[in-house]
Subunit: 398 residues, 2 copies
């Protein structure tokens, strides 16, 4: 129970406490924790000696705090929980709560490298059927390793940032043409944020996941399917993805997700040694996709074939180092049903089966469309917690 | 003519003046310019008011200086040239020259995003013939756009850093196995370093190349061919590349390469509008590849199909922003002859035609092998300048 008005029973209650970076007019960006519809200003709390983190909570990004490691993350979370639950602290803390309506949220961490996986069997199978009809939907390597690639870190933007429709080349019957993308899509994903770095040449094992990963953000990996289709052979997606990737303003710490870990789908064939995680756990995050305010899909993250611990072990098995701020995303989250897919490519089956959004027909995104991805998860003590949403509106091409 | 002993006639003479970051024992990293076999300490020069750059020359990386833009880059280069040529400055500058043998060179810039292109027609054709015999060597998109992908920025290391042989999965007749790579290769490339950033949503045109690009570094994009071959469908290279990418310690400013711009190969079919650069210029950089001290190849950069200005325009046509420290590499540089290829994959034709290196037979890299990539170019005033070499030695897998 917290003394904060409106927080008990809220999906942003005291068992959630995600971290973000905010600004109120004319002041410096600083770190806060969300509680109900308010932001607890941790920079101010640190300045008042209410919470101690060696100054790491008084920076403009979460990176320095995330680099401190799990014992410090736990200590700060415990202290913040104490401040928000013990009436004795109310007088000191209440003045440090800022209404969410009065703040501007900023990118919560400086992104080091951004990696995007492709770990939903349903998504990979759907894409295979759409693009390679009549052939096996999964490629031969897919069940042996979590397929992934590097994306553009410099174009990761915070939720709410408008997305300008990208221009680029696409193939037509008359050869390639250049213009605004005509197949602009979303990918509903879950991102994992690395706090503790690792040295070059030293793989991080599946058991070390919680020592390195600070928390989770929802991700929309905007995708221009026409640009991607023309460019991606043989080196993978490039400009079809690099124009923008949106992340939620709130990073949910792993501690808040303890009750959300559930057995992941069984893997057959068995995986090789470095990918064998015991227990083999995914996360029961229940995503929602809203297109212009209408819910069009509910992707279940618990159905993902590869787990975040396996993704981290794979990412580093070759000796690649981790840096604070590395972001790796799951790949599009799609469940077995058409109402559970994480892309409009799948929702409209390659654009061949339009859907009705409000009163309008859609295959891909129109200018002015807004997409919002949210999620809930089982929280501590029988609560339900919400993950910070990621939203964006399409602006016309320049 | 410079007053620095040994510098007149040197490939690192006063018409070259590449920038790097160095350290001498127990002191802070700082920026220097190479002249012959000495480093001119620009941090000390700035502290002594010999050169003015608002403190940007007194940082641990080139990033702040590179962000200043071309007028400042030109002003600093002119001033450094003056200091090194006018006898009047000798007494003040001489004490700020440090023998190269006494310094440790560090990564010269903090890498923001790393992009790797695939812009040599000879290389792409060779790879096509090796991997897809009997089919057209180039894919249909190749002559319409410069194919590229994002690599891992966090594992870009400075020349001289040992490279640990990566472990990973590779395909065998009995299914995938995990172990040290057995087909470890190089890729001799030329990298372009972005100084001036660009805003999200605003493409950078082919004519704006020199406003954004600060200079050039040689790159060795180490590649584990067996890991790459198994993982790369459908999203491109990942762990086969991400374990290490080496760059030279010296960044050659574009100003030093004015005489090296030459007409690039004619492009047929004609390229689309945003890729049309007039004049269409490549760089006459003459690369050398040494394997355990023996020269095995001389890749000619002037044969590259896509120019660095076209690569930059392509990279941003979708509105992707640039950051200071972005690095984009050309892709493997290979000329038409077997003695001009930039990878051992091509030199040994897929590992089927071993070469003799010293007294030993090689297909791919053995533990202990050292590869050094160098280059020369026509410099100002009829001189020949050298680009800083990039070297690395293979350590056994852990």
């Amino acid at each position: 129970m917290t003394w904060v008005t409106g927080a008990n029973g809220s999906p942003y209650g005291v068992t959630n406490l995600p971290y973000g970076v905010f600004r109120t007019d004319g002041r410096e960006p600083r770190i806060g924790v969300r509680i109900a519809d308010q932001v607890f200003d941790l920079a101010a709390a640190e300045a008042a000696d209410l919470v101690l983190a060696g100054g790491a909570l008084s920076r403009a990004t979460l990176n320095e705090f995330m680099a401190l490691g799990r014992p410090q993350w736990t200590a700060v979370r415990q202290r913040v929980t104490e401040l928000l639950t013990d009436e004795a602290h109310r007088a000191a803390v209440q003045p440090l709560l800022v209404p969410l309506a009065e703040v501007e949220m900023l990118l919560p961490f400086e992104v080091a490298d951004y990696v995007d996986f492709y770990s939903s069997e349903h998504h990979a199978s759907n894409v295979g059927q759409i693009f390679r009809p009549g052939q096996p939907p999964l490629l031969p390597n897919w069940k042996h390793l979590p397929i992934g690639y590097h994306g553009r870190a410099g174009t990761v933007v915070v939720s709410g940032t408008p997305v300008v429709r990208p221009r680029g080349q696409r193939a037509t019957a008359d050869g390639p043409v250049t213009g605004p993308s005509v197949r602009l899509d979303i990918e509903a994903e879950v991102g994992f944020v690395v706090g503790v770095p690792s040295p070059l040449g030293r793989p991080v094992g599946v058991d070390d996941f919680a020592d390195h990963v600070f928390g989770v953000v929802l991700v929309n990996d905007w995708s221009a399917r026409d640009i991607q289709a023309w460019e991606y052979q043989p080196l993978g997606p490039f400009l079809g993805k690099s124009f923008a990737t949106s992340v939620a303003a709130w990073v949910t710490p792993l501690e808040a997700l303890g009750a959300a870990f559930v057995p992941a789908p069984e893997q057959d064939p068995p995986v090789v040694d470095y990918l064998r995680d015991v227990p083999h756990l995914g996360l029961d995050l229940r995503l929602t996709v809203e297109w212009n305010g209408e819910r069009v899909s509910e992707p279940p993250f618990a159905t993902m074939y590869w787990t975040p611990a396996q993704q981290l072990a794979h990412l580093t098995v070759n000796g690649a180092s981790l840096r604070t701020g590395d972001l790796y995303a799951s790949g599009t989250v799609s469940g077995p049903e058409r109402t559970q897919v994480g892309s409009f490519l799948e929702l409209t089956w390659g654009g061949t089966e339009p859907v009705t959004v409000g009163t309008q027909s859609r295959t891909f995104l129109a200018d002015g469309d807004t997409v919002t991805i949210g999620a809930t998860a089982p929280g501590p003590d029988g609560t339900t917690i919400a993950l910070g949403e990621v939203t964006g509106t399409i602006r016309p091409a320049r």
